[in-house]
């Protein structure tokens, strides 16, 4: 130490994580954000995955809606509190909403996620019963959501929504409205410029206070405006994770979004834009953008899902993280057929930690029966079985026992058919030196492959399963592998996508690249992929 001086040694920089290569790594405006480069921890609650996206078209209106954890929640392993949604209502209105759960209240993700869904359901109900006056309808729907949020007993959220009529009126413009409680702003996009629809001034420029729902004085909190738009215009609803960037004195963020969102980008790019990096801006990000884009569309253009058939499932879901020495990515995406018909995604991946292990469930429908959902009850049955029979249970054959518990619980569901599900249940833990010990149960047409050095091999072709279950009449055959990945190997579970696409990647994929692989090979059926490897 120099006389009177303190010498300070900076800690070594952590290794880079996630998406590192073009074109997947999110752009940076302003100074470099180290927090955005830090490793993610898993989402603490699998019901709130890291990133969700809705996409689709209704009439002339193209919509993308995405909510993603901010770098703070990713670094800490806390839940995403933003929510975003896009739906079609009564076949004539495209609706979208974003909500930002208020961070100072616990479990605010419950409020934001519920608020966007409830609002769109309420709006749809009113549109379907012929409620003609939009403002009256929006006020009533916000009021109903406000009432229901009280029942959550504490969690609060901002709520911003917009509706745009699917086809133009006689004047060539599309009727629309925007409404907001709190500081999730709305921008009007025209001719490469972003203009805030509502006044953005904060009462205390040094504070972060916002209005939020539920609020007893909703009438005076709700801001509502008609905003008819012309072909080529768009309305962008964002949470303050993006709003604060757009409100910054620098023109750079506004120019960034105005340039990229003049017309609907592809959904991977949209997701990447939402996650734009800037030092100090570590809040959750969400954006829902509605473009008035008349003109012909491809035959595979995804249709906006109908809000009248409520479901928490978003069209795309991404989960990723590092758990002890494990790296994992899990992505699921709505298939072309479901997208054309405006149906929801049914393929699912779930990741969570139990007893220090990574537990993953992937499940996708195999049959053509679009009316019954066997995947949801199956995933619920496996989750319930893991709760009651955690992987640290001193049982010599944990996975086979877990499997039979899950099957028993699933069979109790009326109409449940496991032969309609392609599924994998995985439990993994790190082993010294970057190896991974895992147990994997497989049923139905799900691909499980070991990959490394650019090639992959189906697990079943290189190794016989340790156990075979369900070989009796009427039972669904299940094969169980108990094995170890060497440090240069990874495990790939896929449905609806060629595993070679992952195996051939020069580097192990970041979360956005994993989704990009699925988008690069759209399939009729829902797609999913889970990639696991040991951290070297």
């Amino acid at each position: 130490m120099t006389e009177g001086k303190l010498d300070l040694v900076p800690p070594p920089a952590p290794p880079a994580w996630g998406d590192r290569a073009e074109p997947w790594v999110p752009d940076t405006v302003g100074r470099r954000a180290k927090a955005a480069e830090a490793a993610w921890k898993l989402d603490p609650d699998p019901d709130f995955p890291d990133t969700v996206l809705d996409r689709g078209r209704l009439g002339d209106i193209e919509v993308l809606a995405c909510a993603a954890r901010g770098s703070k929640h990713r670094f800490e392993g806390t839940a995403r509190q933003d929510a975003a949604i896009a739906r079609a209502a009564a076949g004539s209105w495209a609706l979208a909403a974003v909500a930002d759960g208020v961070g100072s209240v616990p479990d605010s993700q419950q409020a934001s996620t519920a608020a966007v869904q409830w609002l769109l359901i309420e709006l749809t109900r009113r549109l379907e019963t012929g409620e003609a006056e939009p403002h009256k309808m929006v006020r009533a729907a916000f009021g109903e959501v406000n009432r229901r949020l009280v029942n959550l007993g504490g969690p609060k959220t901002t709520l911003t929504a917009a509706g745009v009529e699917a086809l133009p009126g006689p004047d060539g413009r599309y009727r629309s409205w925007v409404a907001a409680v709190g500081d999730s702003p709305v921008y009007f996009l025209r001719d490469g410029r972003l203009v805030a629809v509502f006044d953005l001034e904060r009462e205390d420029e040094f504070g972060t206070a916002t209005d939020a729902m539920p609020d007893r004085d909703l009438r005076n909190r709700l801001r509502l405006r008609s905003a008819p738009i012309r072909p080529g215009d768009a309305l962008a609803l964002v949470s303050d994770g993006i709003g604060d960037l757009l409100g910054a004195r620098s023109e750079e963020p506004k120019a960034y979004f105005a340039e990229r969102w003049g017309a609907a980008p592809n959904p991977v790019d949209f997701m990447r834009h939402v996650q734009i990096r800037s030092r100090g801006f570590d809040d959750d990000r969400s954006a829902a953008v509605l473009w008035a884009a008349p003109g012909p569309t491809g035959q595979d253009a995804p249709a906006l899902r109908d809000a009248a058939r409520p479901s928490a499932a978003h069209d795309v879901e991404i989960r990723a993280g590092r758990l002890r020495g494990l790296e994992v990515r899990a992505v699921s995406s709505r298939g072309l057929e479901a997208a054309r018909e405006g149906r929801r995604r049914r393929a699912r991946t779930v990741l969570f930690e139990r007893a220090g292990r990574l537990v993953a469930i992937t499940a996708a429908p195999t049959g053509v029966d679009a009316t019954a959902d066997h995947v949801g009850p199956w995933v619920a049955a496996v989750r319930e079985a893991v709760e009651g029979f955690p992987p640290d249970h001193p049982s010599s054959e944990w996975m086979p026992n877990l499997w039979s518990l899950a099957v028993r619980a699933f069979d109790a569901t009326p109409g449940a058919r496991l032969d309609e599900v392609a599924t994998a249940v995985l439990c993994a833990e790190p082993s010294p030196g970057g190896a991974v010990d895992y147990e994997l149960a497989l049923a139905g047409p799900v691909s499980a492959a070991i990959f490394g050095a650019g090639i992959h091999q189906e697990l079943g072709t290189i190794r016989a399963p340790e156990h075979r279950w369900g070989t009796g009449p009427g039972e669904v055959p299940c094969r169980v592998h108990v094995d170890r990945l060497t440090p240069d190997q990874g495990l790939l579970l896929t449905v609806g996508v060629d595993p070679a696409r992952f195996a051939r990647l020069p580097e192990r994929p970041g979360p956005l690249e994993a989704y990009g692989v699925l988008e690069g090979e759209r399939a009729e059926e829902d797609q999913l992929a889970l990639v696991l490897w040991g951290e070297r």
Partner: protein, 219 residues
């Protein structure tokens, strides 16, 4: 165009601090390491140090701790002039906030950790009132720590957010180490728990070993 939460430590350097100054300097070193290993906190907080005795001086300009490799350590000097410290803190905040805003940053309400072990021997009330003037927008949240011969009521009247007084259960050196650790926790917690309703932006532990928290109604 960043979002910045400024932290200031305003520290007594009067003669009576002689035995504990090394503990405080070690605490600052640990603070530096803790902030450097948390990128969320490092990205969003700035840290400055003001020392005071008969006069006050800026020992560390408001800095990005992850980029600081050396700072002037605390060193003992003369008497105890609170007023000079408060005046310099206000002037420093004014200049820092103006600079940050000029750089396009959004600035959250600053936090100041005030530490003293002695009786003020200069008039200080007017400077304190200016520092806490409700009409002055960037007025800081002040957390006050007292130990040694400091007057309890004086310390309680300085903290606008929380106030603590050493209770003799730890040696002064250990107590100051706890002070530094509370400061680190506050920076890390506040830097990562920026909330949307503005009420609990600053996260300071309610209990600091070796100190008793003074309730506002004990004034």
């Amino acid at each position: 165009m960043e979002q910045v939460l400024p932290f200031y430590v305003v520290c007594d350097e009067s003669y009576s601090m002689a035995n504990v100054i090394d503990d405080l300097n070690n605490g600052l070193r640990e603070l530096h390491a803790a902030v450097g290993s948390d990128p969320v906190v490092a990205d969003k907080t700035r840290f400055g140090v003001i020392g005071f005795s008969d006069d006050a001086e800026v020992l560390l300009e408001l800095s990005d701790l992850s980029e600081v490799t050396q700072m002037a350590g605390l060193a003992v000097k003369g008497g105890t002039n609170f007023g000079a410290a408060f005046k310099l803190l206000r002037d420093t905040i004014d200049a820092d906030v103006a600079q940050l805003k000029n750089d396009g940053c959004r600035v959250y309400r600053p936090a100041a950790f005030f530490l003293s072990d002695g009786q003020p021997n200069y008039e200080w009330k007017d400077d304190y009132d200016r520092l806490t003037d409700p009409a002055w927008k960037p007025r800081p949240n002040i957390v006050a720590f007292g130990f040694g011969s400091v007057d309890e009521a004086t310390i309680a009247s300085i903290g606008t957010f929380k106030s603590f007084i050493a209770n003799g259960t730890l040696s002064p050196g250990k107590a100051l180490h706890e002070f530094a650790s509370a400061l680190t926790k506050s920076i890390v917690q506040s830097g990562t728990n920026m909330t949307d309703d503005g009420k609990v932006e600053l996260q300071v532990p309610n209990e600091v070993p070796g100190f008793t928290r003074l309730e506002a109604d004990e004034l």
